[in-house]
Subunit: 266 residues, 2 copies
């Protein structure tokens, strides 16, 4: 389906979030205020709301003392994927309890009060569903909601935002069965729409600007009636994951297993 | 820096590109026609043009017979990263001559005439510079240009668009030195702006719609006077790449080397 035009904006004015805040109510207020200043931005059916997950973590009180950072990373870790030593310590790239492979399990020290670090939200998909329901109740419109975080990736420098929570969004757009411009079936293409939307939103929200929410207009074809399976379906797991271990870790394991399997007496 | 609003659109009407076409002239015509129909879209200083690299490949005649596909992949390959057997053959994930790690080296069978496959452009950064110069000559405005392709990534399902060529764009936005909302320095963050823009543009261009060019407005702060180093700087190489080999390949290499280092007689 064709998109005529995509528009992305990030309302200003959300105050610093603290544990116990009613985040959905604050976001509704933010959107009401923004629409008052910009009438053409009044929330409409088919809009997407893209929220930096960090504010959800803050509302949930997912803050720990920076001294407990390494312990917190361990607690969030399901499986270590790779480690790297550097001047100030060891970076652990791990699969966390959300299935996300991230440096330090997604535990983050930026945009948090001095001496603290933030963990990822408990259940970003649930948070997305709650925000979606709150928007429907307040505005009577059907929107999609994404929760985002910033992540590195293999082979490419620089970080991008990805979707770690979703409600009411077709996170994967399966084009298999549609045709290309020569009428041949597109056999291979499943687009990670939610990650592309997260990236587009980051360009507007930024990292330092204090605008954790973006509204994306023009993608109503990806907004669904049902909440759907959430961002969890973006996670590739098990045998499908050809980069389940860092190269150095896999190499070392192979070496070790070879010596174990074939003792020197054989 | 704050972005007030991001807008992305994809002009319709570019005809199918064939070898030898003057692609820059055709794109200039497309933008002139689009601005006639939509006066508010007239190209402006600070706009970004995001072009699917496939049309560059077509203009360059980078087409080979589908029967020669495997051979073409081999020719484009610098290094095999991982392989996977499946029902219809073996998928090779390789580093290609542009430094990109991609399935089948980026050789693609969609949106090409029956019986053919397309290779990536010879030099996407050079193509981006040529388009940028052509736009400056035709419109007298300073724009940024990105060339994109679609790629898979480890750990996440679905494909996204990435930047494989760039001119006049700050492809990596280094925020180290700026401050977060608590006044603490952002020490870790280098954002892959060019990949986020590529992703945003894909949401509008789509895969089947026949609109390979998108205009992105609102990111003038990332448009530079100089052409800059291109998209090549997004490629992470050598020791920095912790996922230089697939896990299975690295494991097998470790096993083999262990037995080589410690022969059974030792």
């Amino acid at each position: 389906m064709s998109v005529d035009e995509l528009r992305v904006w990030a309302p200003e004015g959300l105050r610093e979030i603290t544990p116990g805040d009613d985040l959905v109510a604050l976001l509704v207020d933010l959107l009401v205020d923004d629409a008052r200043a910009h009438p053409d931005r009044a929330l409409a059916d088919g809009d997407l709301l893209v929220l930096t997950s960090k504010v959800v973590s803050k509302a949930e009180g997912r803050v720990v003392a920076a001294d407990d950072r390494e312990q917190a990373i361990t607690a969030e870790t399901v499986r270590v994927v790779a480690t790297r030593e550097h001047a100030t310590g060891v970076t652990r790239i791990v699969e966390n309890r959300l299935g996300l492979v991230m440096a330090a399990a997604g535990v983050d020290a930026s945009n948090t009060p001095e001496g603290t670090v933030l963990l990822l939200p408990l259940d970003p998909d649930a948070s997305a569903r709650a925000l979606r329901a709150g928007i429907a109740a307040a505005f009577g419109v059907r929107v999609g909601v994404l929760m985002t975080d910033t992540a590195g990736r293999p082979w490419r420098d620089g970080v991008t935002d990805i979707a770690i929570g979703a409600a009411g969004v077709r996170v994967l757009d399966d084009l298999r069965g549609e045709s290309d411009s020569f009428g041949r079936p597109l056999t291979m293409t499943v687009t990670a729409v939610a990650d592309e939307v997260a990236a587009a939103a980051e360009l507007v929200k930024g990292k330092a600007a204090g605008r954790p929410l973006a509204v994306v207009r023009g993608l109503a074809q990806h907004v669904t009636d049902e909440d759907g399976p959430g961002a969890r379906v973006l996670v590739r797991v098990g045998e499908q994951d050809m980069f389940r271990q860092g190269s150095a870790e896999a190499y070392a394991q192979g070496w070790k297993d070879a010596l174990g399997e074939r003792p020197s007496s054989s």
